[in-house]
Symmetry: C2
Subunit: 648 residues, 2 copies
Amino acid sequence: MGNDSATGVVFTRNPGDGTRKVFGEYLVNAQGEDVVAGIRTPKTIDFLEKELPHTFIQLMKTCAKLEKHYKEPQDLEFTVEQGKFYMLQTRSAKMNALGMIRTSVEMVKEKLISKERALTRLHPDQLEQLLHKTINQEAVKSHSPLVKGIAASPGAATGVVVFDVKKAVKMGEDGVKVVLVREETKPEDVPAFFASVGILTSRGGKTSHAAVVARGMGKPCIVGCTDMKIDYSTKKFQVDSKTVHEGEVLTIDGSQGIVFLGEIPTVEPEVTSELKTIIQWAEQIKRLGIRANADTPEAARLARNYGAKGIGLCRTERMFNAQDRLGLFVDMIMARNVEERKEVLEKLLVLQKSDFKEILKVMEGYKVTIRLLDPPLHEFLPNIEELINKVHRLENQNSPEELEKTRKILARARELAEINPMMGHRGVRVGITFPEIYEMQVRAICEAAGELLKENTDARAQIMVPQVGSIDELNQIKRIYDTIKLSVESKMGLKLKINFGTMLEVVRSCITADELARTAEFFSFGTNDLTQAVYSFSREDVEGKFLPEYLEKEILQENPFQSVDVNGVGSLMEIAISKGRKNRPDMEIGICGEHGGDPSSISFFHKAGLSYVSASSHRIPIAILAAAQAALADKPKKKTRTKKTKRR
Amino acid sequence: MGNDSATGVVFTRNPGDGTRKVFGEYLVNAQGEDVVAGIRTPKTIDFLEKELPHTFIQLMKTCAKLEKHYKEPQDLEFTVEQGKFYMLQTRSAKMNALGMIRTSVEMVKEKLISKERALTRLHPDQLEQLLHKTINQEAVKSHSPLVKGIAASPGAATGVVVFDVKKAVKMGEDGVKVVLVREETKPEDVPAFFASVGILTSRGGKTSHAAVVARGMGKPCIVGCTDMKIDYSTKKFQVDSKTVHEGEVLTIDGSQGIVFLGEIPTVEPEVTSELKTIIQWAEQIKRLGIRANADTPEAARLARNYGAKGIGLCRTERMFNAQDRLGLFVDMIMARNVEERKEVLEKLLVLQKSDFKEILKVMEGYKVTIRLLDPPLHEFLPNIEELINKVHRLENQNSPEELEKTRKILARARELAEINPMMGHRGVRVGITFPEIYEMQVRAICEAAGELLKENTDARAQIMVPQVGSIDELNQIKRIYDTIKLSVESKMGLKLKINFGTMLEVVRSCITADELARTAEFFSFGTNDLTQAVYSFSREDVEGKFLPEYLEKEILQENPFQSVDVNGVGSLMEIAISKGRKNRPDMEIGICGEHGGDPSSISFFHKAGLSYVSASSHRIPIAILAAAQAALADKPKKKTRTKKTKRR
């Protein structure tokens, strides 16, 4: 109806970064459909001030009024008919993480919303975007996607395409940035995950092997790129008419599930001041403690920066897997008797002690829970099939010594091999049958703590025993600990304060938690293993077998290894918590499984009355926010916290 | 003090067979030491009647008096000083099984003891001796033992020594009676167990692999013969200076743990009329139902003879393992699509239906609980290492078709291989992902039941789903069952009465038993798998790894796979029973694990309020007696049976 008529769509704040400035477009002498259809190019809202100044003032007033009413940035549509301003519709604006965070903080400052509201309007998982490398948003505009898949693990990475697992390992070791491209992955492909900057598969879903492993390692991953046709034999893949050969460069955006050909600059994650503010607020409100799963001083430092107050799980075996120690550890396994074994353990003691000292120092003032050796010994030996091949190879060469050594390792690997290693000779069972291993670890912890005490460092080591199923197992290790502690104390002339506790990851430990609480000073649920045992699902197998079909047929609503199974695993945890606190009312009980970083699981852990969750470093801010939300949701019934809570 | 003085030791009844006749020896003009020392040969007590008639009468009167007082046959010592009779000491006589049974029955007839006392004075495990082949006691006198070990599985057997597993299998198949002799055994040696009449190992204890497997199969077994030094390379073993070569004949007495060189006649087990009487009395008193684990019509017949009132566990996979079916089952696994798979399943349907019909007929009038397929599919394919070797062999021969086929099987075996098969793709998970397999089995059961109904046979089939962990899994199979039942009913023009239930062997099924009870008409605990899951102990691994050390160090008082763990597994069972009966008060709940035949476990099962136990056929009489004893022990608090009972 002429140039004094117009139509437009605006956000009251910029949905891309949250800036407090009306953001949008309008068209003069047009209908709403014209804006949406994209036939005419609309003008940005800034022009409206000059073109229709009266309307502009009305729009600005309306925006302010709507925000005040809805207490959320709005996404609204308006029209102007011959100078008269009409509001057509409004709804809360959808924003990315950056925008949500910034508006949360600013709306509080503007007194538009409370801090509580600022926290609850955020989705914790959104924070993930801010904690990983992202694609440069400017640079990406000049690239069109090659193919799309399922965003399985966030972050962005650039590397050369490699199809072969061994080749990927080799190239990764040589310092080449590799993107592993496979139809699907299997457990034996895991070494290639370590060697690659990103993983891309043509099959599988969010719970496929590739997705789960990549997430665990914090590596970008896209799965289920069904349009990508891989041909291993010719080492290439095809997307429609485009062919990509091994060696070509790809950039993958694991947060969006988009694959690009060629290199696109990436942006390092940055903790904005608004994010810091949100975390601060969340920390004031949450009641759950937040600790980190961290195995190295670097990881501990990162975790502390992200706001972790302590380490809930330090896996000592990760230290043995380092290049310079694995050889020693294999020697220990190959030892023919206790004396030989102790000799090697003396060397490992020195290394472990220095690791522990550094981690304890980084986490000064906070508890560091060190888990004694957990995996079965055979996990440190090479794969049997590989050893067989090596023996064949060496038989044809002329190196009798090497052959003899390999044969011995093969024999030992066969001897230690298990049909169901997950339920085999591991954790406390190794500690009991090879007590010298746990003795070494306990001594390393005691000596590290003692030396730090002498330096006046506030080191707070805790010793945690894995795989415990009965009080007799725990007491056996407690005796080892008591003896060694006493000997270190008398040698160093000081008193150590080290807590002694146990994992609850075996079903029987939950059922008999009252007995365990007599010896254990703290509990930490291992919900990965517990979920396995409660479902009788092997974590390493089900992903590639029946789990996808279970999710598809809705026999499972969620992957229980991602989000804790409240009805099953949760019930057992509640039994254990109530039994444990019956005999030790002030007992600290935490959880250090993968679920420690999952918001919906955190909500349950809060309700169940846990003391803390321990999550991987890069999920600490997410856990803090989720814990605050759980506390807020719980507010009206504040006093019922430790009582039995409703199930979802 | 002269010929009117004497000393002697007698049993008031014969301890060897229980005959009611004083049994013993005496020496005239001697002291007690002389009888014990064996310097002079004592006379049997029969002579006393002539030699010292007055003493004889006094002794007889004393025996009767003591038995009346102690209500047990006595083992007593007397002396005679110049005609005067003195009683020195008396104690209850130790007797073998035959003696215990006979005296139990006769003392009741003599009104010396009550039926209750007759039952409680027996140890159920003693019955085992009467249910297995034994060494001819006369013949054995002319043989001296070669070596002794641990009596690991009862019964006697004669066969030729074979050290090599494959050779044992081959010879066994050729009809040779083989005794497998090994330092220790591993799961891959199991085929040789089937092929052998007995097993003998130089290492291991009562819970070693060899012991457990042999007991499971009811084969005689001796383990831990540490004096036996085996040399596999020269195919012989040495005991001190004696050498035994492969091919020589041995007789082993698994009930006593004694090895003899050469053949000794054995005696077939015989169910004596006294044993029948005991079982009859026990049946009147026990409250637990007793059913059998039986997979074939023969086993069902044996079980019924032994007193089993129904089958608590019929494992359908055992039928597939039979020589004539395994090939078909492998074809089913190798099928490239559902159509191909269904084609093979049609053939298997015919075989399964006829199996089911026969078993149902044998057990007419009693419930027969048929468990749908439980193991993972890869268990039916050859071992991967064997397949690799076969491929190598075939590559050197000229048989491209066979090679191609083997390669395909190898590829499929690799595809199906699992890291922890016990917690993998098995049971209901296979039923859900390959529904056509369970469809075939359910149809076979429905049609078998229908055909028997038409013949007026009182067949009582029950369908049981294994490995269930959630109600959604169970409901998925229930829908399959409902559809097929309806179709069979309409086709045959009849109404089927088949109960539909589930195993409780996954921890989560116990925790959510209330939900499961809405669909399941009965529960059956699978305590083998449940024990595994509660402890996180792999049954197949722990025996040869840490379990012996755990028992030795008393971290475990008993092997939890032999005697149910009341504190852990038992608590979980009690939770499940109470939750299940909350939603279905009259629910039949049984147990069909190995523990079903273990007396101390049976005592717990009774207290926990189970409806029945199901045990291997040869343990049925033991289970009946144990169940009666449990009922008797429970008598004073008869009414509290279903309430929470004290823990041991």
